[in-house]
Symmetry: C2
Subunit: 197 residues, 2 copies
Amino acid sequence: MTLYDLDLSGNCYKVRLFAALAGIDLSLVAVDFMAGEHKQEPVIGLNPLGQLPVLVDGDVVLRDSQAILVYLAHKHGASQWWPEGAAEQGDVMQWLSNSANEIQNGPNAARLVEKFGIPLDKERTLQVSGVILPFMEQHLATNDWLSLGRPTIADCSIFPYLAVAWEGGIDLAEYPNISAWMDRVKALPSFIPMPGM
Amino acid sequence: MTLYDLDLSGNCYKVRLFAALAGIDLSLVAVDFMAGEHKQEPVIGLNPLGQLPVLVDGDVVLRDSQAILVYLAHKHGASQWWPEGAAEQGDVMQWLSNSANEIQNGPNAARLVEKFGIPLDKERTLQVSGVILPFMEQHLATNDWLSLGRPTIADCSIFPYLAVAWEGGIDLAEYPNISAWMDRVKALPSFIPMPGM
């Protein structure tokens, strides 16, 4: 099972983090983003969007970090991380969508501006962050974890770009419940960090 | 089963469309967005993000259209729409993430600017559209459906904002494979349209 990987990408780190927590072996292939390797073969043939990560497992080729989390958890029977029931899957799924949209276009995009100089609308990234972070803060006032009262792939999906939000100029000190939740994630057995945390 | 609904919202239409196709009964509660009812009780208590749709089914309360699609398909045993296997779920999930991110921030956001006067970065909405639409066009050159060779919730999730993309100034005439796929969606038994299509 091969993960085409970029160490500074929170989307790639989502997968590395979950694999570590769930005890799943991955072969990492480092993709040199600065050299444009994500727009060359083999990556561009595996994912014409040119985005990382990409997972290859025999005949299965998956782009998108959320999809890879669902696949890995399901394949390895890790139903504590990706549940089997309808209501439970729906509950986790809400956070996977927040990760794909609000976290991507909020804290992640703010970091792309500040750390990598990508010309996105910084004010908009802060607006989006200013919606999702208070929502999370409220939710985590009465919940230790994002979904189902236990660690799930929802936490693995949301955590990475919050852990490096400071690189985008976003200070999580004003969100004590989020900060406490991040400490709980970091305390999980077999947790691994990401560069910049 | 109650759906808090806005007829002009593609995210709400995703759910209405899937329910129609799968033969699931929904009680619709129209929310007057212009009057700010999404920021008042009961909606804001059900979804503090103030977004529509929201589904209430007994004790189950779900925000996010993708999460609602997963829940409804799973609950009703509609595994042709939301599959049970790991690789198959991962494949559909890729498109649900594209729907939450690229379709939301591309065609949907362009429509928010043009139709509703919401001050987003129009150029950015076209950039995002200019990535996801050629990708879909390429994929649909050799696939009749987005995932698994059959209609799934991936199609229900992506279709709505493309069906009204013209309202955001995006012309799909240059994407014949996307246009043909949209015709296949429209030809599905029990298909229902959305205002503006």
